[in-house]
């Protein structure tokens, strides 16, 4: 990877079933991620994806671009907007884009863009891959 490289865009579909599976795998059973009743009672439009699920999709894209696992040495973001996941078979698409911002002996810095529809859902997502 070289500075300025635009990495191939990754699109991941998220359904309610994915959120249930992630709740079990991660141990985060907050009902706003599976109950419309609870989600709307706290002012959300409906069930939303775990922020960490969305960040995990960004990590999945990094593994794809690196063509290997275990190369991520730094990963982070702010959780700025919720990903609302409808109760249907179609789900919602999350798109992960990445640009290489710097390459040094210490690693490859990647600026990410994680969006749902026209909105960025993560704030300043970025990562460093081991060189």
């Amino acid at each position: 990877m070289n500075t300025g490289d635009v990495l191939p865009e990754q699109t991941y579909t998220v359904t309610r079933a994915d959120l249930v599976r992630y709740a079990g795998a991660s141990g985060d059973f907050n009902p706003i991620h599976w109950s419309d009743r609870v989600a709307t009672s706290v002012g959300l439009p409906g069930v939303i994806a775990h922020g960490m699920y969305t960040l995990a999709l960004a990590a999945r894209a990094l593994d794809t671009w690196a063509a290997a696992t275990g190369r991520v040495v730094e990963l982070g973001c702010k959780f700025t907007r919720p990903v609302v996941v409808p109760d249907d078979e179609t789900g919602v698409d999350v798109v992960v884009r990445g640009t290489v911002t710097n390459v040094t002996d210490a690693g490859v810095q990647i600026s990410l863009d994680v969006s749902c529809g026209d909105e960025k859902v993560l704030g300043m997502p970025k990562a460093v891959l081991r060189a």
Binding site: S26, M52, A59, R60, D63, T69, G70, L75, G76
Partner: protein, 137 residues
């Protein structure tokens, strides 16, 4: 009610050791659409261990956090090495910072995740936003 101001700088005891199984890594990878290759855990897997430390903080009655008012504001990981199957991991959480903004407590936490020999594996930084009763209305 705001959380106790003396919380800043406090370090909590390490979480009980968590043994990372191959099956758990397969399950976690599958849940995020990835495939476990038998080597490194998915990069966000350490949240499982960090989450235990954050839960202990949030459930500590002396801290004064109401769980249903907490939102995950920010998350960052730095890795010394990837997590692998067979690791026995503990997380030690320190409250790095505490600020009040608009009736909310902004709690900056750092969980040092170490292996059975006490060697560092990963640091998980989480910002928890605890909305006060006024802000939540």
């Amino acid at each position: 009610m705001a959380v106790d101001a003396s919380l800043a700088g406090r370090t909590f005891p390490p979480t009980p050791p968590y043994t990372v199984s191959r099956e758990k890594l397969v399950e976690f990878a599958h849940a995020t659409g990835s495939t476990y290759d038998g080597h490194a855990a998915p990069a966000t897997f350490p949240i499982v261990v960090a989450f235990a430390a954050m839960t202990a903080l949030m459930q500590d009655p002396s801290v004064g956090i109401a769980l249903h008012r907490v939102v995950h504001g920010e998350q960052r990981f730095t890795y010394t090495r990837p997590v692998v199957a067979g690791d026995r991991l503990t997380a030690s959480l320190t409250v790095d910072s505490l600020r009040q903004i608009g009736g909310a407590d902004i709690i900056g936490t750092r969980s040092e995740i170490a292996d059975a020999e006490g060697r560092p594996v990963c640091t998980a930084f989480a910002t928890l936003v605890h909305r006060g009763e006024e802000a939540a209305r």
